[in-house]
Subunit: 435 residues, 2 copies
């Protein structure tokens, strides 16, 4: 027998039923917000990643040469592909472009708890609007899909920041500070002691005194004092960033998602390609310690991949971490099968049972019946294994009485219903409706 | 700008909307029939295919060595993966196992009209039942999903055969005939002249007289004369095959799908791994000349991949050919976007408009609004581009009158509705409801 590759997963029906419910809920929220589904190749030219050398992702590619000598790779993320798609039809597509897509991605990473080499995400993006309302709509959708999944404001929080604020504040302390390095320190700060954090800031070029003041500034700043921070930084970039972040937060409020958001200047998130507002979703109880998902504005990326300059903002909930939050909150869907009816056929009633099965399925019910020629008991056992709610017994005696026997699988109780009253044209009656 | 790989496709929202509707319809039929969704790795050990050397598929693999030195391949089909999944939980899984899965596959083939290197299928299988009712349920589901897609008995036909009948009849003419070769000839017969067809049968070992009689036998045999054919062949295998095929067709009738099926002994379909009933779905008008999809029983395959002996029957509609049939019949879904409401915000009404958007989305409607700060005219143009049915205008004057303006996008006509009457808790009212 062959084994499965490490970091890859099989999803059997029970587990898949729960995942499907989660994915369907996320996608339904996207659709209500007017995002449109796309699909795209799972294999692309490796150059789309390797031309931007030096990024971690290049070391994790499933890249190879195809039979035509092309250097290709399994896609590790969607952005270059979407950039290619936007660029290819940039004239025809009406803006803003609002797309979503659920699919697998692949990275040759160290496999660990909740981290796989094949993983699934829904990528959600708006292209072609640099307006704060676009950022806000993306954040509001992120919150809404979590609410639709059964979470509330006590369960999760969006920590929202802006990449230009940190840089401006850092430079106001010392024009020569290594901003990228310092922001990496900020990004790690929650996992570090104050001393360790300040050590890293010092390595980036701040004095220890500046590091302490910088730390204080960040943690003390709330939404009301953002403009003071801009004054402190004293640059146009800082003022613009604060104005933009404030406009986004105001628009989030108007969309009704303000209660899920908080200003968090310590949120730095994948700074390298983000260009404006960034946000990360966290478990509000802290039990799930890693970021559930995150996103932000990346106005330079489409152009970087060869497209026209196109502002963009988006995020990508993944189905490895999101279930951890849903499980922690007790709202992850049941990993179990559901079946409306099992039609149990016994004796010389094959035709009548098959017709009943077809009728029930025609009404939209989930229906199973015997396709193995099994005994009454074996059929009941199977009906139990698929969590059939109701078993409809079609026996010779039943038909002689012009009725079916209706069995409630939870209690084992039975009653009968006249053949010409079942199934009704609407509803999904159970034992309780006939007892 | 990077180019897409040959044989791979981007699906933009309009095209994807139609594909999604088709896939959803197919999957909904699977669910009603009690099939359960699974998901599985898109990359597997290449040995799962290369160990069975000599098959065409091996030459078409996207195979490579991963960073851990494993010989891996993009999966060209689902069967070995499903075999692995069934084998891994053979004790725990209650039988019959009824699974479906929609996903991409990859083969390095010659790219041509309707044939791609990345293609999508829904694999639908029953494992663990060798009963004719299992074959029949699979065929009935195949017919039902086409009916659900809008086709009827004038649009398509299932040609049903049994692999053991052809072999038995051939051997009754000449015990030494090359059965596999002869069946390949049968499989091609529809595209050949009678002379060419008989030449191929002769190459397989029949005399020309035998070839002619064999040809007549196959075409003359209908459901009623199947037992005569078994008599003619005169072997137990022939009698068993005829009995099995008859039982399957009878069960298909009981499931109400008989009108879509015809006996067609010339249907040989991928004979190498099928072991019993085989079927192919064709365009009844012949306009789409290739098989739309096909399937059958393959009782040896799971064991061949290292699992326990497990009877199996299934089929796999693919989303390259199926759309051709639906388009020919005029029932392929529209390739267009649909939007319930566009909320058009003008003047100092941002808060009220955003609240209305959130309310409408909360009621389940597909709603877009301005996220780009655009003019009235630009917003109307965008609303038109996304096929918004109704535009709700939230202007300062509207709000001063405690009303919204409702615009029908098809006619351009407008009316008003009091703010406290819109949106209603149920329904999806349009201009017509308020004019």
């Amino acid at each position: 027998m062959y084994d499965r590759l490490k970091g890859f997963r099989d999803f059997y029906p029970e587990e898949m039923a729960a995942r499907r419910e989660v994915i369907d809920t996320v996608e339904a929220a996207c659709r209500r917000f007017g995002f449109r589904e796309t699909a795209s190749p799972h294999l692309e030219r490796a150059e789309m990643w390797t031309d931007k050398a030096g990024e971690d992702i290049v070391d994790e590619l499933y890249a190879f040469e195809d039979q035509g000598g092309r250097h290709v790779t399994l896609t590790p993320e969607l952005t270059p592909t979407v950039a290619r798609m936007v660029a290819a039809k940039t004239q025809e597509l009406s803006k803003p472009i609002k797309w979503f897509s659920t699919r697998p991605f692949w990275r040759y990473e160290q496999v660990q708890q909740g981290r796989f080499r094949e993983f699934y995400q829904t990528n959600i993006d708006i292209f072609g609007s640099d307006d704060p309302r676009a950022d806000a709509e993306v954040i509001a959708l992120g919150a809404q899909l979590l609410v639709d999944l059964g979470l509330d404001a006590a369960d999760f929080e969006f920590r929202v920041s802006h990449r230009d604020i940190l840089g401006a504040v850092l430079r106001s302390f010392d024009a020569d500070v290594d901003v990228r390095e310092a922001i990496r320190a900020v990004d790690k700060s929650e996992k570090l002691s104050t001393a360790e954090y300040h050590d890293l800031l010092a390595e980036a070029g701040l004095s220890y005194d500046q590091a302490a003041r910088f730390d204080d500034r960040l943690t003390e700043t709330d939404r009301d004092s953002l403009s003071e921070l801009a004054e402190f930084a004293g640059t146009d970039a800082a003022h613009d960033a604060v104005e933009n972040l404030t406009a986004v937060l105001d628009a989030v409020d108007r969309f009704g998602a303000g209660e899920y958001c908080e200003l968090s200047l310590e949120t730095a998130r994948g700074f390298d390609y983000y260009t404006g507002v960034v946000f990360e979703c966290f478990d509000a109880t802290g039990e799930v310690s890693r970021s559930v998902f995150g996103g932000g504005r990346y106005d330079d990326l489409i152009e970087g991949f060869g497209g026209q300059p196109t502002p963009a903002v988006g995020f990508a909930p993944g189905y490895s971490t999101l279930p951890l939050l849903l499980q922690r909150a007790g709202v992850y869907p049941d990993e179990s099968l559901t079946t409306d009816y099992y039609v149990l056929q016994v004796g010389d009633t094959e035709r009548e049972a098959a017709e009943l099965v077809a009728d029930l399925r025609g009404l939209g019910h989930v229906v199973e019946t015997d396709v193995s020629g099994r005994s009454f008991g074996a059929q009941l056992g199977y009906a139990d294994s698929i969590n059939a709610e109701t078993v409809v017994i079609v026996g010779e005696q039943d038909l002689a009485n012009d009725e079916y026997t209706i069995r409630d699988m939870a209690s084992g109780e039975q009653t009968t219903v006249p053949v010409d009253e079942f199934p009704p044209a609407s509803g999904r009656p159970t034992y309780d409706d006939y007892e």
